[in-house]
């Protein structure tokens, strides 16, 4: 008996929602970053779920692809956060608002 697709999708949606809320309400850049990772993995989960449902490998390939991209993004993002910290002495995104109009 296969696990119904809905379970995966609900889990994925919940994870994505948690990630979104995390991005929106946290001040700490690292936590925001983690929340983004959560969102990415939520999507990965749904991709794999659909992949299995359709019996096609396309979704899995795409999931791998997004993991690789996420890893690269982590490298860049962390580097930015470190340099922001060096500049401002803080990792709070509210302290970095030079773009205010």
């Amino acid at each position: 008996m296969r696990t119904p697709i809905a379970y995966f999708l609900v889990t994925s949606g919940l994870l994505f929602a948690i990630g979104t809320v995390g991005v929106l309400i946290r001040k700490n850049a690292l936590l925001i970053f983690m929340s983004i990772e959560l969102q990415l993995n939520a999507v990965n989960l749904s991709l794999i779920a659909f992949s299995r449902m359709h019996g096609s490998l396309n979704g899995q390939v795409l999931a791998f692809f997004s993991m690789v991209v996420a890893a690269a993004e982590v490298v860049v993002g962390l580097a930015i956060i470190v340099s922001v910290y060096r500049r401002t002495g803080s990792v709070s995104v509210d302290d970095v608002r030079e773009l205010r109009g």
Binding site: I32, V93, D94, R97, E98, L99, G101
Partner: protein, 639 residues
């Protein structure tokens, strides 16, 4: 066989142009040499002109036409304009006047302008003027003529305003430029009309024969309606009216006397102002084809001749008398042209160039000698400190007044004789009346300036001008006396010389006998001079008291019939009001209001928009989310 001198014709305008270029860039370094260089170059142009004349005299009358093609100027499809110089008796007459009188005036100016800080620039302008004037008279098509026409206008502007530190001079320069521009604009429209109707501006195709010699005017040309020819002729004449200071565009010439006196003599007496006469004579084929246009020329000329002579009666500034006199004499030239007596007009032009240049330069000598005094009320008795100037100026005055056998007599008498014998009695009577006025105003000038007692301290300290100034005066005086050798009536050397271009004047047979005409003309001149002698020379009449008694009339004439004031009130004031409206209401409020309004609206929009840019990453993320959800909803609902 073309005489070799004809091929040098391009040098005639090129030499003064070179002088202008050198003096413009190196005039300061040359110092006094600048004036001599300019004079020498123009004298060289004169020498070439004389060579051209002698070459031309060796040819048969029908062969005296030569066109030198310098280069293609405009080439657009079938419309071609070349830089072509035309040599025929008419243009040779003009270049001789321009270079001859011009050279004398250049030499004179060396003395007159010697203390001026912008000496070099003055001669650069003078030479530039000579270049444009020579282009004007040598042009073989209307566009090249127009180039010269505008160029002399520019030089006139620069030279009237040469002492631009004086506001009156700067204003006069602007007035001259703008007033003549009215005529020039009409003339440009005329040129456009010629292009439309004839398809070319070349004299050899526009001026199609109805008289004159077939060699000069082809017999076949495009068919152009009578109305179109009249319109073209009148538009060209409008340009001539502006340039030659005829009524109603005459107002700039008296004010133009703000310029240095050599300028008045060269530009505003001898050459530029006669360009209008030259234009009419050159284009007489068009004017005759119209007929109506000739009548207009005659009427305008006659009105101007009388009107300006009355205004000259009451001027106190010695140069303004001569300015109004010039306007009046130009009127006579147009009268002659309007009667188809083109040779008479040209003879008057040549004679006038001599005696009026002489009068202007003598006036300059008087002003120079009397320590910059121009008001004749403050002069008097200058005969003894400056005998040479007094002599030559009197010769010029007598010539202008029309005393036998001076050039002015023959010039004016010929025109009046033609008016009488061709049956135009009213023209003859008015012209004779004008001649009387001429004798009166010029007699008044001489008696007030040179006779009686010195009426001011400056006049008492007056002294004679240097030889560099008086020598040209003597040469011009010889011309003013002996100009009669060119013509002594309808027949004569100059009319014979010009015959291939302008044809022969044939109307005649009516009117008074020649002897009676001469007697009347002489009688009128003598009467005029006698009246002025009685009023101003005899000492029996207190003319200052007389002036007070006749003050309304005197003021009326002095203000030249209030024409200037009327223009000021009816055209100047509304024009200024319109300009003020345009500047302070239309431009400052409406145009600027619109432009500023766009700016203010953009600013306000930006002020509202910048609120969105909080700088909080969270806000941006939320906006992403809302946007993404919105797009998903939209797409989802569509499916």
């Amino acid at each position: 066989m073309t005489p070799s001198a004809f091929h040098l014709v391009w040098l005639v305008p090129a030499l003064p142009l070179a002088g202008a270029a050198v003096n413009l860039f190196a005039g300061k370094k040359l110092g006094k040499l600048a004036g001599w260089l300019a004079s020498a170059l123009l004298a060289a142009a004169l020498a070439i002109s004389v060579a051209i004349l002698s070459g031309m005299l060796g040819l048969a009358a029908g062969d005296r036409l030569f066109v030198q093609h310098l280069f293609d100027w405009i080439s657009a499809g079938s419309f071609q304009v070349g830089a072509d110089l035309r040599i025929d008796p008419l243009s040779v007459t003009m270049i001789l006047v321009v270079t001859g009188v011009g050279t004398l005036i250049h030499v004179y100016a060396i003395g007159y302008m010697e203390h001026d800080p912008r000496f070099g620039r003055f001669f650069a302008y003078l030479n530039l003027f000579a270049f444009f004037m020579l282009m004007l008279v040598l042009a073989q098509n209307y566009l090249l003529l127009y180039l010269g026409w505008e160029g002399v206008g520019l030089c006139s502007y620069l030279l009237i305003g040469f002492w631009f530190e004086r506001k009156s001079a700067a204003d006069a320069a602007k007035k001259a430029f703008i007033t003549t521009r009215i005529g020039d604009t009409a003339m440009m429209v005329g040129l456009a009309l010629i292009v439309v109707k004839f398809g070319t501006l070349d004299f050899s195709r526009v001026l199609v024969s109805r008289g004159g010699s077939p060699g000069y005017y082809p017999q076949i040309g495009p068919v152009v309606s009578h109305g179109a020819v009249t319109a073209i002729a009148l538009l060209l004449f409008a340009g001539a009216v502006g340039k030659s200071a005829q009524v109603p565009l005459h107002v700039w010439l008296p004010d133009a006397m703000e310029g240095p006196t050599p300028v008045s003599a060269l530009i505003h007496a001898a050459t530029m102002v006669t360009a209008g006469v030259y234009l009419v004579v050159r284009s007489h084929v068009l004017f005759e084809a119209s007929g109506t246009a000739l009548t207009v020329v005659l009427v305008i000329g006659l009105i101007t001749a009388i009107y300006a002579a009355t205004a000259a009666l009451a001027q106190d500034d010695i140069k303004r008398v001569l300015a109004y006199s010039t306007t009046s004499q130009l009127g006579y030239m147009f009268v002659a042209a309007g009667m188809r007596a083109y040779a008479a007009a040209m003879f008057m032009l040549v004679a006038h160039a001599f005696y009026k240049a002489l009068l202007f330069l003598s006036a300059g000598s008087v002003i120079h000698g009397a320590h910059e005094e121009q008001d004749m009320k403050q002069m008097g008795g200058l005969r003894s400190p400056m005998p040479l100037t007094a002599t030559v100026m009197t010769i010029g005055a007598v010539s202008l007044a029309g005393i036998f056998p001076l050039a002015g007599f023959f010039a004016k008498d010929t025109i009046l004789e033609i008016a009488s014998t061709s049956g135009r009695t009213s023209v003859y009577l008015l012209g004779t009346f004008g001649a009387l006025l001429s004798a009166v105003y010029i007699g008044r000038l001489v008696f007030l300036t040179f006779f009686g007692e010195a009426r001011s301290e400056k006049a008492e300290r007056a002294n004679e001008s240097p030889a560099v100034m008086t020598a040209p005066l003597v040469v011009l005086a010889i011309g003013a006396v002996a100009g009669g050798v060119l013509a002594t009536g309808i027949e004569g050397r100059l009319p014979g010389f010009l015959e291939p271009v302008v044809g022969v004047f044939r109307e005649g047979g009516a009117g008074l006998a020649k002897g009676a005409l001469i007697a009347i003309a002489l009688g009128v001149s003598v009467l005029g001079l006698a009246v002025t002698w009685f009023l101003y020379g005899s000492g029996k009449v207190d003319w200052l008291a007389l002036r007070v008694r006749l003050s309304p009339l005197h003021r009326f004439l002095e203000r030249a019939w209030y024409v200037d004031d009327a223009y000021g009130a009816w055209l100047g004031t509304p024009g200024k009001a319109a300009a003020a409206f345009a500047a302070y209401v239309l431009d400052a409020r409406v145009i600027d209001g619109f432009v500023n309004g766009v700016g203010i609206a953009t600013n306000a929009l930006a002020a509202a928009g910048r609120r969105i840019q909080t700088g909080f990453v969270r806000n941006y993320a939320l906006a992403f989310l809302v946007g993404a959800v919105g797009i998903l909803l939209y797409v989802g609902l569509k499916i």
